[in-house]
């Protein structure tokens, strides 16, 4: 076995021996073992998610069956090329004669870009609020005091209620005659006006999933040893300094995982806006339509086009995740290697 960083003591020792990309294997067969361990997960994902994705992509290049008015049945399909994509991206609907026209209002194609905008808006606002709240909650919960268990259980309550029930609850709270208007002494049309409906969805979603963030961040906070805080306090660091210099960097991996997954979740959000506002709101009636709502509506009207829409949603999300990983360093492997490199 080649030399390792050895049994040196503590950070000081680690800092003295900056480790290069490590030696080939800790034990024989590490690579094979690694791949073996990963296999069950990959297989499960391949079957349940990979297969539908591939099938979806294949379907997205087929035409939906057309309606033959003479026979009164649907028939044919055939290859569609990129038509199923361009009709959404450029709002061009094919006509019976083979050309394309700008899609009339009321068609799903016209809602594509508005729903992209809505989805991104929801994502940015919701995740930002949840990070702040989740961090705050986690900091409060991180400590030993009586009733800690009860507090944690109550924090998880919003997350535990099935989404459909939560959506109905907030629909009921935000109804014109509901408690929201009564408590605030207002007459806001929470489910019909443009920005109120968006905020209704955001509020409901933040309420429901802040516990998710708080819990993950809390778990990350718990890993941080007290000694580091003690040492910093002894060194004279104030509370805010301790927070920014110790807490934030050390909780970053857990925080990044939470933010990444929340972002991916909100980009696919369906249940909440569908039940709360039906995707409606604003005088144009689609202030809260998200991409997934559009996909479901499209499924009712044509599978292959819906497959194209799903694929585009997937690509959008992939793009966002890519940006995330690249610029915000959500790459967990990096942590490990910098650790081995003695940096922590």
């Amino acid at each position: 076995m080649t030399a390792t960083s050895g049994v040196a003591t503590g950070e000081a020792a680690r800092a003295q021996t900056p480790q290069q990309p490590r030696r080939k294997s800790l034990h024989a067969g590490e690579g094979r073992r690694g791949l073996l361990l990963v296999t069950p997960t990959i297989i499960l994902l391949a079957v349940v998610i990979g297969y539908p994705i591939v099938r979806g992509v294949v379907m997205s290049f087929q035409k939906d069956p057309g309606f033959n008015r003479a026979t009164g049945t649907f028939e044919g399909g055939g290859f569609a090329g990129f038509q199923n994509y361009t009709r959404f991206l450029f709002n061009q609907c094919p006509t019976a004669t083979g050309g394309t026209i700008k899609c009339p209002p009321g068609r799903i194609e016209t809602l594509f870009w508005p729903s992209v905008w809505n989805t991104i808006l929801f994502t940015v606002i919701t995740v930002a609020i949840e990070v702040v709240l989740g961090l705050a909650f986690a900091l409060v919960m991180n400590g030993s005091f009586r009733g800690r268990g009860l507090l944690r259980a109550s924090v998880l309550v919003p997350w535990s209620i099935p989404t459909a029930v939560t959506a109905k609850l907030w629909f009921f709270i935000f109804a014109y005659a509901g408690i929201a208007n009564a408590a605030l002494h207002t007459n806001i049309l929470w489910t019909a006006a443009e920005w109120p409906s968006r905020f209704a969805v955001i509020i409901a979603d933040v309420w429901k999933t802040t516990p998710f963030m708080a819990l993950l961040i809390l778990a990350g906070l718990q890993i941080i040893p007290d000694e580091i805080y003690e040492a910093a306090r002894v060194d004279g660091a104030g509370a805010w300094q301790r927070f920014t210099q110790i807490t934030l960097p050390l909780v970053r991996p857990a925080l990044m995982v939470a933010v990444l997954f929340r972002t991916l979740d909100v980009l696919r959000i369906y249940d909440l806006p569908q039940i709360l506002t039906g995707g409606g709101g604003g005088t144009n009636g689609h202030a809260t339509t998200t991409l997934s709502i559009l996909v479901v509506d499209q499924i009712k009207q044509g599978f292959n086009r819906a497959a194209a829409l799903s694929t585009m949603t997937f690509l959008l999300i992939f793009f966002v995740a890519f940006l995330f990983v690249k610029f915000l360093g959500a790459n967990v492997i990096q942590t490990q290697q910098t650790q081995r490199g003695g940096k922590i």
Binding site: L35, I53, L139, P162, L218, A254, F261
Partner: protein, 301 residues
């Protein structure tokens, strides 16, 4: 013996030790801040939930009442939720949700542990690709999985079985499980494993006896999140389950008034309350495990 990671000599001090007197004023202010924070959290989280419970005790006629406590308290909605007169089997649905949740959680966490250990601690090719694939699996809109899975499960005769619900739930939980656990395992200092190896442990033993207990907060957190995600899953369950295997989310969607178009919010709220209680109990039981394993002295050998 394994070395300590922290360089200080104050090993083993727990959070509840008495502090030197000169810090007392700061402690008091901190306690007040903490108290306010706790109240704020409780109001935020439990406020709407309280409204849900209160509504479930109102008679249907008084649904939109705005008083803080029902003027006409009734348990009718709970009776209606559990009644089997119209062929509802809410009790059975609760059991189904529990079965599906437990299996999903156990398998997802085990697979996640294997996978995360490999990704975080072992060296092999394609690691980045695999991480990307796993992340990619959580990017596809769930609604688009419905039709292919429906046809797949119909073809292999799995419609209306528990595995038809468990397997997709596991796949939904896996990306989060793997990523969270990978993050936790990656945080563990290298010296632990190396020291254990030097002491004669096999990698498996080092993993089981040292890494796993340290990652306990992460393990139980992901277990709870996986369980809740499976508990909440509606879309696939609505299509792939049968009367016998339907979970609570589908059973709740089946609540409606006796007349068409009637929507008894109160009964739905009652059902929602019933469905939340087991989860709260579960979390109360498991929340101790979320507390750091560090104070148990794992790192300091």
């Amino acid at each position: 013996m394994a070395s300590t990671t922290a360089g200080t000599s104050t090993a083993g001090r727990s959070r509840t030790d008495a502090v030197p007197t000169y810090e007392k004023p700061r402690v008091t202010w901190q306690a007040v801040r903490k108290f306010i924070g706790i109240i704020a959290i409780v109001v935020f989280c439990l406020g709407p939930f309280y409204w849900m419970i209160v509504t479930s005790f109102r008679p249907v006629d008084y649904t939109f009442e705005t008083t803080l406590w029902p003027t006409h308290f009734t348990l009718d909605n709970y009776a209606a939720a559990f009644s089997t007169k119209l062929g509802n089997h809410f009790g059975r649905a609760l059991v189904n949700s529990f079965i599906i949740g437990v299996f999903t959680t156990i398998i997802a966490v085990i697979c996640g542990i294997f996978c995360a250990y490999a990704l975080a601690r072992l060296q092999f090719r394609f690691k980045f690709l695999i991480l990307g694939v796993i992340l990619g699996a959580s990017m596809f809109p769930g609604v688009a999985l419905l039709t292919p899975l429906f046809q797949l499960f119909t073809n292999i005769g799995w419609m209306g079985t528990y595995q038809a619900l468990i397997i997709p739930d596991i796949s939904f939980a896996l990306p989060l499980t793997v990523y969270t656990l990978t993050a936790f395992f990656a945080e563990m200092p290298w010296e632990l494993e190396e020291a254990a190896t030097v002491d004669g442990c096999t990698p498996g033993q080092a993993f089981r006896k040292i890494i796993l207990p340290l990652a306990a907060p992460g393990l139980f957190t992901t277990a709870i999140l996986a369980f809740i995600a499976s508990w909440n899953e509606y879309l696939l369950a609505s299509e792939l389950s049968s009367d016998r295997t339907q979970p609570v989310t589908v059973a709740i969607a089946a609540f409606q008034g006796a007349l068409p178009h009637q929507e008894p919010y109160t009964t739905v709220m009652a059902a929602g309350t019933i469905v939340t209680v087991p989860l709260v109990i579960l979390v109360l039981l498991l929340q101790r495990r979320i507390v750091a394993g560090l104070t148990a002295g794992g790192v300091k050998g």
